[in-house]
């Protein structure tokens, strides 16, 4: 008998239905949101509109996938917004100075992001400073460094950058392709590799993982490198669409990224979450945002509605977690 079958034994159909609904609450809310905005504005359901939702979700989504790695270990990375700004900026300077093309620039941006993540990792692992404090400090440090490099001026990339950002392969926009590749790679790493299993083990029980032979410091440090590299890639992909990097770029985005990861099921306490969840979380947030634009909702009401929908989704997820926890408890006595 499957675990689900065992858990549904002795329950009324309504309880089973509620259980199923809670298990798939995020997906159901996602579907409900799409249908609601589709009814409000049928154009929202057009392939171009839905593709646009995914394209615009790629920016936060790629970073949210990286953030999920960090959250799985019970950590947090507040510096991602500043990395989104600084890493593409470093790439821009390198492209200008060495005449690099866009693909090489992308590699430089990701490497720069990885180095910035390694700085976070160094202080968190070697000096045992809590991640919140380290990444809060580097949030200001990285942005300050970028602002100093540019003297607050915008940085204009060469026209090839925009050509890359607005390009498509087989009709699929490049940002969506990058998003898909990152999501797939992260899913494979988390679910099919020893490194992925070690991340979950660390998040569930750090001491237990250490006793089991997991190199906790290496794993913990690696997730910050992954997070920053992802943020750098996200920033580069979005900047490629605009062609200009402003001093305010990425500011406050750490909250969107964390919200997307949590909405996708990642726990702030570690051990729970998935790459696929981050994709869903980021896409749901973007669906709500763009749906409100399509529906022509008053600008003052838009943040309120966004907040409400995200709150409902997180609440449903919380209820789901609680219900799953209850259903997994061992029954001392069999039910009558």
């Amino acid at each position: 008998m499957s675990p689900l079958g065992a858990r549904t034994l002795g329950r009324s159909p309504s309880e089973v239905a509620l259980d199923l609904a809670l298990r798939h609450a995020t997906y159901l809310i996602f579907l409900a949101v799409i249908l609601y905005f589709g009814i409000q504005s049928p154009a929202f359901l057009a392939p171009e509109s839905l593709g646009n939702v995914v394209k615009q979700a790629s920016f936060i989504g790629i970073a949210a996938i990286g953030m999920t790695f960090v959250l799985l270990t019970g950590g947090i990375d507040l510096s991602v917004g500043s990395v989104m700004y600084l890493a593409p900026l470093i790439a821009g300077f390198a492209m200008e100075a060495f005449g690099l093309g866009v693909p090489a620039g992308l590699v430089v941006a990701v490497c720069a992001g990885a180095v910035l993540g390694a700085i976070n990792a160094l202080f968190i692992v070697r000096f045992d400073v809590i991640p919140f404090i380290v990444t809060l400090a580097t949030l200001f440090l990285f942005r300050g460094f970028g602002t100093w490099l540019t003297s607050s001026r915008q940085f204009d990339f060469a026209p090839e950058m925009r050509a890359f950002g607005l390009s498509s392969v087989l009709g699929i926009p490049t940002p969506i392709l990058v998003f898909a590749v990152v999501a797939l790679a992260a899913h494979v790493v988390l679910s099919r590799t020893p490194f992925g299993r070690q991340i979950y083990a660390l998040g569930n029980d750090a001491e237990g993982a250490r006793k089991a032979g997991v190199r906790v410091g290496v794993v913990k440090g690696s997730v910050y490198v992954v997070s920053s590299a992802s943020a750098a890639l996200a920033g580069f992909v979005l900047i490629a669409q605009i062609g200009r990097l402003d001093a305010a770029f990425g500011e406050g985005r750490e909250f969107d990224v964390i919200a997307a990861a949590v909405l996708g099921g990642a726990s702030l306490f570690g051990g729970v979450g998935s790459a696929w969840g981050a994709v869903i979380g980021a896409t749901l947030i973007q669906t709500v945002k763009l749906g409100l634009v399509f529906a022509g909702v008053n600008l003052y009401l838009q943040p309120i509605m966004q907040g409400l929908i995200i709150f409902v989704a997180v609440l449903a997820d919380s209820l789901r977690q609680r219900r799953i926890a209850i259903s997994r408890r061992r029954h001392i006595r069999p039910s009558a």
Partner: protein, 335 residues
């Protein structure tokens, strides 16, 4: 000497003159600003610090990095250091009220530059009339749109709105509506797109709005810094055209930055409302130095910058009145 250099020299000389005339004694001025993230704030910062320093005054700079609480503490620190006066670019209208009150309660004269407090009754407030400037720019777009459209055709306007917590953004939105409502019978309900003064947000929302409403006739952005973002949305749809080309969308903005100047020259943008940066900087410094000289601890005064609209029609005459065109002529833009 080129006309540009002549104008730049004249502007600098005027500012230095003001600084010198305003205060015979060297003063210590605290310049607290919220950040330097757009060309406007960079140019304003440069005009104020350079002019004061060259006039022999000491400038203590404080950057709040967009944190209103930090700015409050920075201003308190300046007061504790015994500065003679404060020039403030606040994070928002509400925090400005608190900071102005703190300065005046400690008998330190304070001038608020460009971003007005919610309460204009205290402090020296130098403020652009954002509504009037936006209205001038949109008036031009409306005239052009009506002249080009067949009689009886309803036109679709779109506005990219700034952060609604910023009084400047609200004023610009009001100015846009004031111009559109003069011809309400010819315009559909405007499409509003939130930008929150963020390029990524503007990109996502504008792309959605244009997908939902592809037949836009007139587009107004509440800040010129969003023109590259607008281009990214319009260009793939064949809507980024020069004046006179088929499919040109009438476009305007507000600020008067170097990008807007370049785009008006190239024909992609038709008008922009201009805040007279040099007038505003000069007025703030003049007023604060005069208050220090007079020993006035709590000066209250509102100085309004009427601004103007630089349009495709008056580009030849007014180009160098716009601070962005001066920056452009100095090679401010990279590409």
């Amino acid at each position: 000497m080129t006309r540009t250099k002549l104008l730049a020299a004249a502007a600098t000389a005027a500012l230095i003159g003001v600084g010198s005339a305003g205060g015979a004694q060297a003063a210590t001025i605290c310049f607290a600003f919220q950040d330097l993230e757009t060309e406007f704030w960079i140019a304003g910062h440069k005009a104020i610090t350079t002019t004061l320093t060259e006039a022999g005054h000491t400038v203590i700079e404080r950057n709040a990095n967009e944190d209103a609480n930090r700015q409050f503490e920075q201003v308190r620190d300046c007061i504790a250091q015994g500065v003679d006066g404060i020039i403030l670019i606040p994070q928002d209208g509400e925090s400005a009220v608190t900071i102005v009150a703190e300065a005046q309660d400690n008998d330190v004269p304070i001038a608020v530059f460009n971003r007005p407090p919610s309460d204009l009754s205290r402090g020296i407030v130098v403020v652009a009339d954002n509504a009037a400037i936006a209205e001038q720019a949109v008036d031009y777009l409306v005239e052009e749109a009506l002249a080009a459209a067949p009689a009886g055709e309803t036109l679709t306007p779109l506005i990219v709105v700034g952060d609604l917590g910023d009084p400047n953004a609200v004023g610009r939105k009001e100015g846009f509506y004031a111009a559109i409502e003069k011809h309400a019978d010819r315009f559909a309900t405007p499409i509003e797109v939130a930008s929150e003064w963020d390029a990524a947000t503007a990109l996502a929302n504008l792309e959605a709005a244009v997908t939902a409403n592809p037949d836009i006739d007139l587009l107004f952005t509440s800040s010129d810094f969003l023109f590259p973002t607008i281009r990214s949305v319009l260009e793939p749809r064949g809507m980024w055209k020069r004046r006179g080309e088929e499919g040109h969308v009438l476009m305007g903005g507000l600020d008067g930055d170097a990008t807007a100047c370049q785009l008006i020259k190239e024909g992609y943008v038709d008008a922009t409302g201009v805040q007279d940066l040099y007038f505003e900087a000069e007025s703030a410094m003049d007023a604060i130095l005069a208050a220090i000289e007079a020993g006035e601890a709590q000066p209250n005064q509102v100085i309004e910058d009427p601004g103007f609209a630089l349009t495709a029609a008056n580009l030849g005459e007014r180009e160098m009145d716009m601070w962005g065109c001066v920056l452009l002529s100095e090679g401010f833009l990279r590409n």
